[in-house]
């Protein structure tokens, strides 16, 4: 048994790629060893910015000799076939053996593969691993790059160590000769260092100020940052992503705590944290009360002669960035959000859907409508009292529920301002802060708390696991924003296809579903689209005379009066465009309504992921005509609960039997003109009782009760099939019984299409 060490040394590998690279190295090594018939042994893979290392323990030193047999053509086959078989297996014709297979004389080639030295197999594997290594982005370099065929790697590859039990495995790969030397820390170690084998590798590197185990570096950073914070009487804001990133940027990590000027704490803490993390990869800290402290922790890659010098340099950089942030924060507040919002007129939302200002206009109308129609109400959830931030006073909302009109006013106000922060300096610098900054600026302006909260949270929920807003004003704005996006893009036929969803419409639809569900909001999609479409479509038609018959410049001139020729030409162009738009309206209407089906599809996906059986979803969807997603869901959930009971399973069996019979038979409806058998009578009675109960329950949206009503049919239908012959000899009896089965089937159908249910 032997231990193998492979080190691929490179110029600095991007931190974000190191995890993938470790996986890739392990995968390729296993692939090569499998192909060579060598058990890979126990693998350890490490990475630093400047090297990838793999240690395989317990490799054999030789592979076992293998005897393989290949069956060839039968004796007497054309020479061509026999020769081809020999060539393929690398044997002479004279060496073929003849054996009997199912009574036919058949050629066999026996191939003896002697055992091979694993060192040789490794020497062949290493260039293949390097060649096939897949990086997210790779490049050429150096003299070899005079050809575009030269090796591509993440950054220049500069050295290879390949040691099997301490012996160099000789390889020349892409101009690099393998050996037993590497380099230590870029600044704390000079020249080459020799490695004697897999066991001493990590230790040799440690002496050269390199901690090769990425997890050990992560632990040093995690612990070191925590301790540095504690020593300063603070609490580290933990950030595992930053830990890993810093571990990928260092070979000898040294977490160092520094302070920045207190004044910077005037800007929102999220801004400071984002600047520190994204731009500088620093941790931040909190004080005992959980407020952001004026401290940062950077991770140096040296054991600095004087750490204070390094900290001070980092402090200056952070200070420059924070003063930019403070400059933006103060500059943005010189204008009210309302004025900022005017800037949205210059930003195109979509070529066919106008500017962001146009979108905001639509969202405001829609948010207002959602409140006025009582779709979003203030009946259930009250906003929580809001904690003061950064010294702003604690405001609590009034306890009385808002009327529809009050809500509508607040929602419209919030919607009109919700995108204004997109044109502020701060969001220009940190797009991640969209919404949040608008919320801050609104609060600073003294706008109602419902409005500032709605501006802050109207992008939510932005994915699985994100908070789903329930404050009514926020819900109205958030729903309006997403519904506008969906219907508008569908109207212009920009719907997602396959893996392409450039406007994130799938996510928007899922967010709408989450919002509706969380607040139990009853929204008839068809009613909404019908009301909303004119707002989407009319806005695009700009000329005021589009409904008039205008065909030539002379007419335009008459309508517009004495305008210049250029203006008339422009106007006539506008008119032509508008006419086309008007012509497109019917198809736009149709496409906009297809949003409902899109929602249904998203709901299916969402429910399937939540563990609801897809056949049950189909069974409810097949009923058709349902555009209230919350009601749809309630039905699906009730059905799921029902089919899992014994009654449900048996009723389903009875339903399937009835449906099968009905599918095959033809008959004309007949009144019952004979005395029905007891089992037949029992079913009729049960249906007479169950049908109105189910109908009432569905009307009241009590789907569990509707299912219970159906459950009462289970015993009668079972007994009916046991006791009654449907295919009676008398045609009128047969027809009446088929009628009865059809009635049973239809009764079940009013709750769900059971034919879609599996099992």
């Amino acid at each position: 048994m032997a231990d193998f060490l492979l080190e691929l040394r490179s110029e600095e590998i991007p931190a974000r790629m190191q995890k993938g690279a470790r996986g890739e190295l392990e995968k390729l090594f296993r692939r090569e060893m499998d192909a060579a018939g060598v058990t890979s042994g126990d693998l350890t893979v490490w990475s630093t910015p400047r090297r990838l290392a793999l240690i395989a323990r317990g490799l054999p030193t030789e592979t076992e000799a293998v005897r393989e047999e290949a069956k060839g053509p039968p004796v007497g086959a054309p020479d061509q076939a026999v020769d081809g078989f020999c060539r393929k297996n690398g044997v002479d014709r004279g060496a073929l053996e003849v054996r009997e297979v199912k009574g036919r004389e058949t050629y066999f080639a026996v191939i003896e593969k002697p055992g091979q030295a694993v060192a040789d197999l490794l020497a062949a594997a290493i260039p293949a691993i390097i060649r096939d290594f897949s990086w997210p982005k790779s490049m050429r370099w150096g003299d070899a790059s005079v050809s575009s065929e030269s090796l591509k790697w993440v950054r220049p590859l500069s050295g290879i160590i390949a040691l099997l039990d301490g012996e160099v495995v000789p390889v020349v790969a892409y101009g690099i000769v393998s050996g037993n030397v590497t380099r230590g820390h870029r600044f704390h170690s000079a020249g080459e260092i020799a490695i004697s084998g897999a066991d001493t590798y990590a230790g040799n590197l440690r002496e050269a100020s390199v901690i090769v185990d990425h997890e050990e570096r992560a632990a040093i950073i995690r612990e070191g940052a925590r301790k540095a914070a504690e020593a300063a009487g603070l609490k580290l804001v933990e950030d595992e992503g930053l830990v890993v990133e810093n571990a990928g940027l260092t070979e000898w990590p040294e977490p160092l705590l520094g302070r920045f000027e207190d004044d910077f704490l005037d800007v929102p803490p999220e801004t400071i944290q984002l600047t520190a993390r994204v731009n500088q990869k620093y941790f931040v800290c909190e004080d005992a009360d959980g407020n952001l402290a004026n401290a940062f922790i950077c991770t140096a890659n040296i054991d600095a002669a004087d750490p204070a010098v390094v900290v001070d340099g980092n402090r200056k950089v952070l200070a420059a960035r924070l003063s930019d942030a403070r400059f933006f924060w103060e500059l943005d507040q010189k204008k009210k959000l309302k004025e900022h919002a005017k800037g949205l007129e210059r930003i195109t939302f979509h070529e066919k859907l106008g500017t962001v200002a146009d979108k905001v206009e639509r969202v405001a109308k829609l948010a207002r409508w959602l409140c006025e129609e009582g779709i979003v109400t203030d009946s259930t959830v009250r906003p929580e009292p809001v904690e003061g931030r950064n010294g702003s006073e604690v405001r609590t909302s009034t306890s009385a529920a808002r009327t529809a009109d009050e809500l509508a006013d607040l929602a419209e106000q919030a919607a009109k301002l919700c995108k204004a922060d997109l044109v502020t300096e701060m969001v220009g610098e940190f797009p991640e802060l969209q919404g949040l900054m608008g919320g801050y600026y609104a609060a600073k302006e003294g706008l109602p708390v419902e409005v500032s909260d709605a501006i802050r949270d109207h992008y939510k929920p932005v994915g699985q696991g994100d908070d789903v807003p329930t404050a009514p004003v926020t819900v109205a704005v958030s729903l309006a924003d997403k519904l506008d996006t969906l219907v508008s893009f569908f109207a212009i036929d920009e719907k997602p296809t396959g893996s392409k969803d450039p406007f994130a419409l799938r996510r928007a639809a899922i967010s709408v579903l989450q919002l509706l569900e969380a607040s139990d909001i009853r929204l008839r999609l068809a009613v909404f689209i019908e009301w909303f479409l004119p707002i989407v479509i009319d806005a695009r038609v700009e000329s005021e005379i589009v409904d008039k018959v205008v065909t030539d410049i002379t007419t335009v001139q008459k309508v517009r009066g004495g305008t210049t020729e250029d203006e008339i030409r422009a106007y006539s162009k506008q008119f032509a465009r508008d006419s086309q738009l008007v012509a497109e309206i019917p198809s736009q209407v149709e496409k906009a309504f297809s949003t409902i089906q899109f929602f249904a599809d998203r709901l299916k996906v969402q429910q399937r992921e939540a563990g609801v059986r897809h056949d049950l979803i189909d069974a409810v969807f097949a009923l058709g005509g349902e555009d209230d997603l919350v009601r749809l869901l309630a039905r699906v959930h009730a059905l799921q609960a029902f089919v899992e009971t014994e009654d449900g399973t048996n009723l389903l069996a009875g339903y399937k039997r009835a449906a099968n019979i009905l599918k095959k038979e033809e008959w004309e409806s007949k009144e019952v003109s004979y005395s029905p058998e007891p089992a037949e009578k029992a079913l009729i009675d049960a249906l007479d009782a169950a049908e109105p109960k189910a109908a009432t329950a569905i009307e009241a949206e009590d789907f569990a009760a509707a299912m219970s009503a159906l459950a009462t049919l289970r015993a009668p239908i079972d007994r009916f099939f046991e006791d009654v012959i449907v295919n009676a000899d008398e045609p009128h009896i047969r027809a009446a019984r088929l009628d009865l089965l059809a009635r049973f089937r239809d009764a079940v159908h009013r709750v769900a299409d059971f034919s879609r249910i599996e099992g």
Binding site: E11, E12, P14, A15, R16, P49, K137, S138, M139, R140, W141, G142, D143, A144, S145, V146, S147, S148, V154, R155, P156, S158, R186, F187, H188, L249, Q280, Y282, C298, A300, N301, I302, A304, A305, D306, V309, V310, D312, G313, N314, K316, V317, L318, A320, R346, I347, T348
Partner: protein
């Protein structure tokens, strides 16, 4: 590598060159360093441009198989970064130090670090890091991979291995180093405002040299340039570029592309280009720059292929 280059002034002032005490000494030290390492020391290109990469010594020389090693200072114009001399860190006119090494030598990182030592950055006192930063210039049809080099968390240099230029693969690849001179100097001299930098060791500050320039040029860029004239100039540069390309003079064509690019930046600063128009103008500049590079490569390709039989343009 020589890491210290201190030369007594010819006059008997007793002052020796010290890159840590004067902006010009830092530049001279870099010149000495790269000169000693085989670079042609060039002077700035005599046109207004947004980055040292625009210099023909970088763009056009990155094309073709011939080795090329050059270093130069290039003044950069970023009209929208003007702050009327009121921001200690932002300038509409500043200097980049460009080094281009083709093919990229295997010890390019070590060379670079030695150059930092030469100007007074000790990597055992300061935390030097190579942090992923890829570069792409759609305008030049160019991209590369590399890093931004951090010194105690501050980005002081862009380090790029050019992969494509003008839409052509770089064969061989050139390594490009772009030092932000003012930032480095502020760091080395330990000052918080660019205007406080010592320009020389005789009491002249960066502010003495450039403050008035920043004030006036910020005003010109943001407020004064006649936008009608700018639009005309843009079109003139565009037309001239096409004329030069049509007549097989790609270097002259390329200069017009540089001109158009700067005029576009001025139009941006004047705030007269809408978001929609912006993409279209950038596309026009890109067509000019790429067209010039393509023409240059096509024109030179036969000569290159003759000298380097193994080499091909595509």
């Amino acid at each position: 590598m020589e890491s210290e280059v201190k030369t007594a002034r010819p006059e008997s002032s007793g002052i020796v060159r010290d890159p840590t005490r004067s902006f010009q000494d830092m530049i001279l030290t870099l010149h000495d360093f790269w000169s000693a390492n085989g670079c042609v020391i060039l002077q700035p290109y005599d046109m207004r441009m947004g980055a040292g990469t625009f210099h023909t010594a970088t763009t056009l020389r990155a094309l073709g198989p011939e080795p090329w090693n050059a270093a130069f200072v290039q003044p950069c114009r970023r009209p929208t970064d003007g702050r009327y001399g009121e921001n200690p860190n932002r300038l509409q006119h500043y200097y980049q130090y460009q080094v281009i090494l083709k093919p990229s030598p295997s010890d390019i990182q070590e060379l670079y670090l030695d150059s930092l030592k030469a100007i007074g950055v000790d990597p055992l006192k300061h935390d030097i890091r190579f942090v992923e930063d890829d570069w792409e210039s759609p305008t030049l049809g160019a991209w590369g991979l590399g890093w931004e080099v951090w010194c105690d968390g501050m980005e002081v240099t862009q380090f790029t291995y050019f992969q494509q230029m003008g839409g052509f693969d770089c064969k061989p690849v050139a390594g490009e180093l772009t030092y932000g001179l003012e930032r480095l100097a502020m760091y080395i001299q330990g000052v918080d405002s660019v205007y406080d930098l010592a320009f020389n060791q005789h009491g002249v500050s960066y502010g003495d040299v450039f403050l008035e320039n920043e004030k006036q040029m910020s005003k010109a860029n943001f407020e004064v340039f006649d936008t009608d004239l700018l639009f005309k100039k843009f079109e003139m540069a565009e037309a001239e570029c096409r004329n030069q390309i049509a007549n097989d003079v790609p270097i002259a064509a390329y200069e017009e592309a540089i001109e158009a690019s700067h005029i576009f930046n001025l139009l941006q600063a004047r705030g007269v280009i809408s978001v929609q128009e912006r993409a279209s103008y950038m596309g026009r500049v890109r067509d000019l720059a790429r067209g010039s590079c393509e023409k240059y490569a096509e024109l030179k390709a036969p000569e290159w292929a003759e000298k380097y039989p193994e080499w091909s343009l595509l």
